[in-house]
């Protein structure tokens, strides 16, 4: 609390420029020990400091697996709340009545770094079995500006650490570096532009002194990108558009004469992964726009709905794998790609795993982008009969057609203007992250078991307006939606287990050697047996779980932490499919559990 003094408050309320200037002088006065400086060496070797959680997705491969086992199958029934902390950020703005919490806390040497939906960063001292706020950095996000073009909630999924800085994003398009000791803004840079419908909700990925930023806005006619900012010079190193420019490879997959590619979507709002051996970033690419009128944008619409591999140094595209060409369903592929090495007959197979909105889980050879296996991980898929075993493309995919219809009787189109599809448009799995247990070779998917109803609106170029929805229709929710945790055996590419839940999984997963932690939007945080998925422990937080659990140690003791506060897309757009969740109040709270 000491640093949260009146003096600091005053500065935080002042303009950010003044705060930045002040930070420079304060930084010199406060020595920072080298052990607290985050560098590439530490980010590459997080297994050497298992008590910390340094990456958004735990490691560069997005395993979200902790080797900590003080809390285990035998004693998890004794897990109790150690402490809680109320946070802020539930205020509304733009089209949103309130914010929510979707972030993953970062833990380093007994301190937690968390964000609320409007991008305030909180540093919390977790020593001594309690939480004490050290500082809060409020970026003063322009709520009406950003909130009016955030398709799916007032969201911020967390921070990253680099040097003595905390690196974060704001919904209104900024990358902010905050001094880790003082909480003062060191510098900030505008990366995305809400005037173009661009907002940022994801946590940055830090690779070799660069912050990698993804963007949201495929429902507002953006042309997506991934951008790298040098954390020393604060300059842009590269920016790779996810939709090729005219004449570039892939531009031939946009066959219309209305320049649909210029507003073609392809957002990148989930933090990607990094393979240091190949110096390759793998990132999930979002849906094409307009979402449901795919006749507006004939062609396969690369690189929408793809996993995209980039050279980390240059941003150049190395390979891509597209899941749903000419997507008429809003089945984006924005999810994290989990990097996994599996023993194979001719040496280890280097895989990239992705659980797609379209209901299929994919393993891709990450050395070349070739399909290895794929299978449905949801109970019900109606849009395709399945994947071609060689190519992994939907069986009905016809490369000679410029507008795909898949199973035409259920597919939204200009001749099928109202239709029911499964999975629904929120997907079989949305942004909530998977986890991978490398000992058991099990991959755990947070599943939305869903169908919904789509109405198509035929789009014309004159309907494309700045900062207005560009969706070509919209969903309704006449069907009850439930969820599951589904485990996939990565050695066989088969479902190894499914634990069904009354509500969709909107939070994501943490894996430990013999446990799986997850939550429900109805309030429960739970621990499952890693093999049987049997529920071993449950605690009702009294709020809606909309964020992933993580674990860390302080003074040698293991804690499990999770942010609780239902926001995001669900309680505005999809609540009719889960009417019981209308009772869940907006909230903003950090829960920390221990034995």
């Amino acid at each position: 609390m000491e640093q949260y003094s009146g003096h600091t408050r005053m500065l935080m309320r002042g303009c950010l420029l003044a705060a930045a200037a002040a930070a420079t002088s304060v930084m010199g006065a406060l020595p920072v020990s080298a052990a607290d400086e985050v560098n590439q060496e530490r980010l590459l070797n997080v297994d050497k400091e298992p008590g910390n959680w340094l990456h958004h997705h735990q490691n560069y491969s997005a395993h979200r697996f902790s080797t900590l086992k003080e809390v285990n199958r035998d004693n998890v029934k004794n897990l109790k709340v150690a402490w809680t902390m109320h946070l802020g950020g539930i205020e509304g703005g733009g089209i949103w009545s309130h914010g929510g919490l979707e972030g993953t806390p970062i833990a380093e040497n007994g301190f937690l770094y968390v964000t609320d939906g409007w991008g305030s960063v909180y540093k919390i001292d977790a020593h001594g079995g309690r939480g004490v706020l050290v500082w809060k950095m409020d970026p003063k996000t322009d709520r009406d500006w950003a909130g009016a073009v955030a398709c799916c909630g007032v969201d911020n999924r967390g921070v990253a650490l680099w040097g003595n800085l905390v690196i974060s994003h704001t919904l209104d398009g900024r990358l902010i570096a905050t001094n880790k000791e003082t909480g003062q803004v060191a510098w900030q840079r505008t990366v995305a532009d809400p005037d173009k419908g661009e907002v940022i909700t994801g946590a940055p990925l830090i690779v070799k002194n660069m912050a990698i930023t993804g963007v949201a806005g495929a429902e507002y006619g953006i042309r997506g990108w991934i951008a790298a900012t040098d954390l020393t010079t604060q300059k842009e190193v590269w920016r790779t558009h996810t939709i090729p420019g005219k004449g570039e490879p892939g531009s031939e997959t946009w066959k219309d004469s209305d320049n649909a590619a210029a507003a073609g979507g392809g957002s990148t709002w989930v933090t990607g992964t990094y393979d240091p051996a190949a110096d390759t970033i793998v990132w999930g690419i979002g849906n094409p726009g307009p979402d449901w009128d795919n006749a507006y944008r004939p062609g396969d619409n690369l690189y929408t709905d793809s996993s995209l591999a980039l050279d980390a140094t240059t941003g150049k595209i190395k390979w891509h794998y597209q899941h749903t060409p000419n997507d008429p369903y809003d089945y984006d592929s924005v999810a994290e790609n989990v990097l996994v090495d599996i023993p194979g007959p001719s040496g280890p197979r280097k895989l990239s795993l992705e659980a797609d909105r379209n209901g299929f889980a994919y393993a891709i050879d990450r050395t070349n982008g070739k399909f290895v296996w794929g299978l449905p991980f949801v109970k019900k898929v109606t849009w395709t009969k399945g994947l071609d075993p060689e190519s992994g493309k939907p069986i009905e995919y016809d490369p000679s057609k410029s507008v795909q219809t898949y199973i035409a009787s259920v597919t939204p189109s200009r001749t099928n203007m109202e239709t029911d599809i499964c999975p629904g448009n929120m997907g079989g799995k949305n942004w909530p992250p998977t986890a991978y247990n490398p000992d058991l070779k099990l991959w755990y998917i947070p599943v939305i078991e869903s169908c919904n109803r789509i109405k198509v609106e035929v789009m014309t170029p004159d309907k494309l307006k700045k900062r207005e929805f560009w969706t070509g229709g919209g969903p309704a929710q006449p069907f009850k939606i439930t969820g599951s945790v589904t485990a996939i055996d990565v050695t066989t590419g088969k479902v190894a287990g499914k634990m069904e839940t009354p509500f969709p999984n909107l939070g994501g997963i943490l894996a430990t050697p013999d446990l799986v932690f997850t939550g429900q939007p109805s309030g429960e945080v739970m621990a499952l047996d890693a093999k049987s998925l049997q529920k071993l422990w449950e605690f009702n937080t009294g709020g809606g779980v909309n964020a992933p659990p993580m674990t860390f140690t302080v003074d040698g003791k293991q804690y499990v932490a999770i942010l609780v506060g239902l926001g995001g897309a669900w309680d505005k757009w999809f609540i009719d499919s889960t009417p019981e969740l209308k009772k869940i109040q907006p909230g903003s709270m950090l829960y920390v559990f221990a034995l």
Binding site: A148, R174, E468
Partner: protein
């Protein structure tokens, strides 16, 4: 300042005067410039508070999106009485909620009870509005939104005041702000 800008009303001025004289004066000045005498200001407040903006947007044009297509209040042909009925009773079979306490229960709506409406029952608004509030928001829609054509910068600033960049997109290119912070950020 932000608080007073958002409530440029008599209540806002009273609140301000209770805190500090200079703020009160600022608020008064602002309220006058924004048209304190506009009788539809109460309705504008309801338009925000009842979250009409959540689907119809600040400009009332609605539009597509994940929530389906909220109708354009700019293109609407509804009369004041029809708007009052729609706000109070919602639109059966659509996402337009009802905002009148007791609608379909104590008071029949569209000549229907809750049982009659069945699956067509519209959702309940996030807040209930008193009849005076409903009339006020209808007056606001009639005066400022219905038939207003495409949204303009002046309309946007009148709605939000000038605390946000939300309106910049409606400026003509020559009017674009030379925002020092933005410029600095982009230059880096």
């Amino acid at each position: 300042m932000m608080i007073f800008n958002r409530f440029p009303t008599a209540a806002g001025v009273l609140l301000a005067s209770g805190i500090a004289l200079n703020f009160a004066m600022l608020a008064t000045a602002y309220a006058q410039s924004a048209g304190a005498s506009d009788p539809t200001n109460a309705g504008k407040a309801v338009f925000s508070r009842a979250n009409c903006v959540g689907c119809h947007k600040w400009h009332g044009n609605g539009g597509g999106g994940y929530g389906g297509d909220a109708l354009s209040l700019r293109n609407t042909e509804l009369t004041r009485d029809q708007i009052i009925e729609t706000v109070g009773c919602g639109r059966p079979g659509t996402g337009m909620p009802f905002f009148m306490r007791g609608a379909y229960d104590e008071v029949k709506c569209h000549d229907m009870s809750r049982q009659d409406a069945g699956a067509q029952m519209p959702p309940e608004g996030g807040t209930f509005l008193r009849p005076k509030d409903i009339e006020a928001v209808a007056d606001y829609v009639i005066v400022h939104i219905k038939g207003a054509g495409e949204p303009t910068y002046a309309e946007c600033v009148a709605f939000f005041s000038s605390t946000s960049r939300v309106c910049d997109v409606y400026k003509a290119p020559a009017q674009k702000p030379d925002d020092a912070a933005t410029k600095m950020g982009k230059g880096q």
